[in-house]
Amino acid sequence: MRSKYALRFIALGYLALLLGIPVVLVFVNAFQDGIGAAWDAVTTPEAQHAFYLTLVMVAVAVPLNTIFGVVAALVIVRQRFRGRALLNAAIDLPFAVSPVVVGLSLVLVYGTRDGWVGSWFAEQGIRIIFSTPGMILATMFVSLPFVVRETIPVLREIGTEQEQAAATLGAGPLQTFFRITLPAIRWGVAYGVVLTTARALGEFGAVSIVSGRLSGQTETATLFVESEFRRFNEVGAYAAAVVLALIALVTLLAMNVIKPKEAQT
């Protein structure tokens, strides 16, 4: 009996120290000067622009990575070809490589003066690095693996019999995908979307390097939090952090609300 409580104590204590107490303290600090001060801090033009930019990152990176993730998972699970293992390993690269390295490598490729793709775009008048497109690229890169990784196991589990049954009943490949495959894997995909969203919301390192950090122009919410912190504006930093946390929470809740009863059994 005693060991049961000891285990529980370790698990809960660990979570409290690492997660619970720090998050609670962020909330406490955000509202140390009252709700009004916190509200003012997150409604300055710079703050509003930062949140807007973060939502743009999410709005572009999440749908694109979701489509790519499902396609990649289908290829990895259903097809046999040379280089399949390589593709499978490459998808984990964003997990393995530090975001700072990702940022630097994007500068090398897309930089306006020296980047070998970026200089071509610069001639066309399109700026990638130190601008929104580069930040979107960085966000997409770091949040790429989640949908693929969450979709592969469910795709393996459902097998191909339902799809074969649909084919014998007259469904073409697209009808089979949208009516059978996608509904069958949707909770795996949905969980991948939640993780992708959370990662895109929270990305700091890679975006920090490619953004150039121009306040009110290329500053996302996480970059805003850090620059407020550096300027000793604690309320601003913590209040913005609270808003970020709330957006992530809303995403999670939304997922649980749309989840029908049938899938919970």
Partner: protein, 325 residues
């Protein structure tokens, strides 16, 4: 519609699943593909459905060449061993699937689904999900789903293989009756000879990717083309170095011409059937199937010496008779 399979070969890497197989299934018939696992019977069924494409040979359904057609254009009904139920759809939606794909009017779909659910005794289950059904119910739903599109042929891959013995027996009889009602050309795969004998009008025995024999259950039992079919289609025992049906042996109390001497090791009472296990003069073991009445009349008991004599033509003689193969 009739099905004609002509010299179909299918390899998976080095493994030959079907080796130059030709076969004809009559319109409206009920045929079993019977054989040990790995014999090629499921592959043959999948080739007919278009779920596998043959390396060589052709498949025609209702007189037209279907070899190059994808499954969705063959209009076949296919039932899988593990049901392949669409888990995210209700029973009614599952059954309606083929009709929905064909964009039939809503009231027509509803009427057809109702009719089919009654046919498979699932009326009242329309709004359940597959996870709320038993195995037998799921398989009946899969059958209704396959029948909904009025397929030209119905193909069933080990349809009762995943069910327990009682449900299996029930569904077998039920499939037989259903076929009498619906009359669609039906081919089903099984490794269970009893199931094949009970349900099918025609049995095709497949082994190592080749057809060993084709014929009615009676023909296969009484005139097996070879040792393999004989052993697969019913019990065999050995007498005078030949394979013989264990009930085609007479037990005699006195020596007689052509009878072999044997000692009774064991008598097993299985109800109406009595199984007598014996050792022959040369030390070989054999067994004879007899009835309770006969065993009592002969007053058999363990340890006694008796004489065994075949009471019917043996397989070797029988195979001289014309056998459609």
């Amino acid at each position: 519609m009739s099905i004609v399979v002509d010299s179909v070969t299918k390899r998976f890497g080095d493994y030959t699943a079907l080796d130059d197989v030709s076969l004809e299934v009559r319109d409206g018939s009920l045929t079993a593909l019977l054989g040990p696992s790995g014999g090629g019977k499921s592959t043959l069924l999948r080739v007919i459905a278009g779920l596998e494409s043959p390396d060589s040979g052709t498949v025609s359904i209702g007189g037209e060449d279907a070899t190059m057609r994808p499954p969705q254009q063959r209009n076949v009904g296919f039932v899988f061993q593990h049901y392949a139920a669409f888990k995210h759809m209700t029973v009614a939606k599952n059954v309606a699937f083929g009709l929905t794909i064909r964009k039939r009017p809503k009231d027509e779909i509803e009427a057809r689904v109702d009719e089919l659910l009654r046919l498979v005794h699932l009326d009242g289950f329309a709004h359940r999900y597959p996870s709320q059904l038993s195995g037998g119910q799921r398989q009946r739903m899969a059958l209704a789903r396959a029948l909904a599109v009025q397929p030209r042929v119905l193909l069933l891959d080990e349809p009762f293989g995943a069910l327990d013995a009682t449900v299996r027996k029930e569904l077998r009889a039920w499939l037989r009756r259903l076929h009498d009602e619906v009359h669609v050309t039906t081919v089903f795969v099984t490794h269970d000879q009893e199931e094949a004998m009970e349900v099918a009008e025609q049995i095709v025995v497949l082994n190592h990717g080749k057809i060993e024999q084709m014929g009615s259950p009676k023909q296969l039992y009484e005139q097996p083309a070879n040792e393999f079919v004989m052993g697969f289609i019913g019990p065999i025992s050995e007498l005078s170095g030949r394979s013989i049906r264990p009930h085609e042996v007479d037990i005699l109390r006195e020596p007689s011409g052509g009878a072999e001497e044997a000692m009774i090791d064991r008598i097993v009472h299985l109800g109406f059937e009595v199984r007598v296990e014996l050792t022959l003069g040369d030390g070989e073991k054999t067994w004879v199937q007899t009835t309770k009445a006969q065993a009592e009349e002969l007053e058999l008991s363990e340890g006694e010496i008796v004489w065994l004599r075949p009471n019917a033509p043996t397989a070797d003689e029988a195979s001289d008779a014309p056998v459609p193969a």
